[in-house]
């Protein structure tokens, strides 16, 4: 580690590693990434790895579409496997309200150039023969959605960033941030050491609010536990990731055969708790077998939990801030940071290097909360 860096990144998940890589790729190699546990130890390594473009808000759709383009060539770019697989996303609607919402969403998504369509229950059953179509009114399907292995993708960025000269500090925690004359000056580590920094990137996932606070910035990002389980591996059963809004669940089959699934509990309080519960195990297995009854033959292998970094409108906060020069953030992804990580990180690197971005991040600035402009993203599970 040197005395100081042009850019110090806090957080070794998808965002931290990818921003480091895109900075170095564009020639800025004076970069340090600080990760307090291990690479992908936070939300990235705990996520389901789904990659969806079917969102409600234009900003999310554009970030996701841009990320899918990057994912498509990422193995070659990084020289590392990613297990990127485009099996599509199938979203199920069981109420007239959801159907109306689906129609509007598809219209917006198609206007942005996404290949997505509204289908009837019969077509849905053609795509996934084992879904229960009782009470199903319709669905949307986007064939270019899919999933990737979050560990592989993050380690791919990590390895490549290191090859390009990025430094890493793993196992050290940031305890403070020095701001003087409204400018980032240095980062203080919990062992008391000090690293000078001209710019700081907050990529701290579930802990982003704490990091922002150290720089004197308050952002409305709150951690919320979400649980996941995975089953024993079975022969190929279905391709797409399936979301059922009725049960509030998602599930997908991994390339190794296991079925990974989760749901969001609306009662879950803000906290850093990532323990697993039997309540989740029993609810999850009940809900998933309502959607795909044949899964009652399959055993659960293990379960775990991670943090969604929730914002009031369930959309991320990306970019700089007016109060502190040199402070940047890509935080508050509300459960979909992995899938939009590549494009987000590319844009943030561009912003740091050139002061502007090729795709507008205006709507995702943290100013929107003061101005009351946020539009709520409803498609979060």
């Amino acid at each position: 580690m040197k005395k100081g860096y042009e850019v110090v990144i806090v957080g070794g998940g998808i965002i931290g590693n990818a921003v480091a890589y895109y900075l170095a790729k564009e020639g800025q190699k004076d970069v340090l990434v600080i990760e307090k546990n291990y690479i992908s130890s936070g939300s990235t390594g705990r996520c389901a790895g789904g990659i969806r473009q079917q969102w409600d808000s234009e900003a999310n759709i554009r970030l996701a579409m841009g990320s899918v383009k990057i994912f498509e060539g990422l193995e070659d770019e990084l020289g590392f496997p990613t297990e990127f697989y485009q099996g599509g996303y199938l979203l199920l609607a069981h109420t007239p309200e959801h159907m109306e919402w689906f129609k509007k969403r598809v219209e917006l998504q198609r206007s942005l150039g996404l290949d997505v369509r509204l289908i009837d229950p019969k077509e849905a059953k053609d795509i996934v023969p084992y879904i229960n179509t009782e009470g199903l009114l319709g669905a949307t399907f986007c064939p270019t959605d899919g999933h990737a292995n979050p560990f592989y993708v993050t380690f791919g960025y990590y390895k490549k960033a290191q090859e390009l000269g990025v430094h890493y500090l793993i196992g050290k925690e940031v305890a403070g941030i020095e701001v003087r004359e409204s400018r980032i000056r240095a980062v203080i580590l919990s062992d008391g050491s000090r690293v000078e920094a001209r710019n700081l990137v907050n990529a701290a996932g579930g802990h982003a609010r704490d990091i922002a606070r150290m720089a004197g910035i308050d952002i409305p990002v709150n951690p919320q536990r979400h649980e996941i389980l995975v089953t024993e591996p079975i022969g190929h059963l279905f391709d797409p990731l399936i979301i059922s809004f009725k049960q509030g669940i998602y599930f997908r089959q991994e390339l190794n055969g296991g079925v990974l699934m989760g749901y969001g509990d609306p009662e879950e309080p803000w906290s850093y708790n990532v323990r697993s519960t039997s309540r989740f195990l029993f609810n999850m297995t009940k809900k998933v077998t309502e959607v795909m009854p044949i899964l009652d033959q399959v055993r659960v292998l293990r379960q775990w939990a991670g943090l969604y970094a929730m914002t009031p409108d369930a959309q991320p906060i990306i970019g700089g801030v007016e109060e502190v020069e040199g402070y940047y953030q890509a935080v508050g992804f509300s459960g979909h940071g992995f899938m939009v990580g590549p494009k987000t990180s590319e844009l943030l690197a561009e912003l740091i290097l050139t002061g502007k971005t090729s795709l507008s991040l205006e709507h995702l600035s943290h100013k929107r909360f003061k101005e009351g402009k946020g539009k709520i993203e409803k498609a979060v599970i």
């Binding site: 591996p233 079975i234 022969g235 190794n256 033959q297």
Partner: protein, 106 residues
């Protein structure tokens, strides 16, 4: 036959002698012994083939942990045969890697 008949501290209650089928062939087993034990005693040492490299797998942990003895029983894949008792007339076959669930036959 590779069954222990006598043991210094354990008593064996093998249960009833019944017939079940391994890949179509009738096998003698006892209702108080596991499928894997009955197959092993009948000289059948390969229970499954590994998913990636198709390597043969046989009796290994015998306590339901290792996945070596996963077989297809009456069409159900991933059955831990070291944990499941012999029943008369069941059809058992070797599992080859990942197998389709019952009810999804191609």
């Amino acid at each position: 036959m590779e069954r222990l008949k006598d043991h210094p501290v354990l008593d064996f209650d093998r249960g009833e002698k019944v017939i079940f089928y391994f890949e179509g062939k009738p096998i003698e087993g006892y209702t108080n012994e596991t499928i894997a034990a009955a197959l092993h005693a009948a000289g059948i040492k390969v229970f499954s083939y590994s998913p990636k490299k198709k390597r043969p797998r046989g009796f290994f942990c015998a306590v339901g942990k290792c996945s070596s003895c996963l077989m297809v029983v009456d069409g159900r894949p991933n059955v831990r045969t070291c944990m499941e008792y012999v029943r008369p007339g069941i059809h058992v076959r070797r599992q080859r890697g990942l197998e389709k669930l019952k009810g999804t036959e191609e």
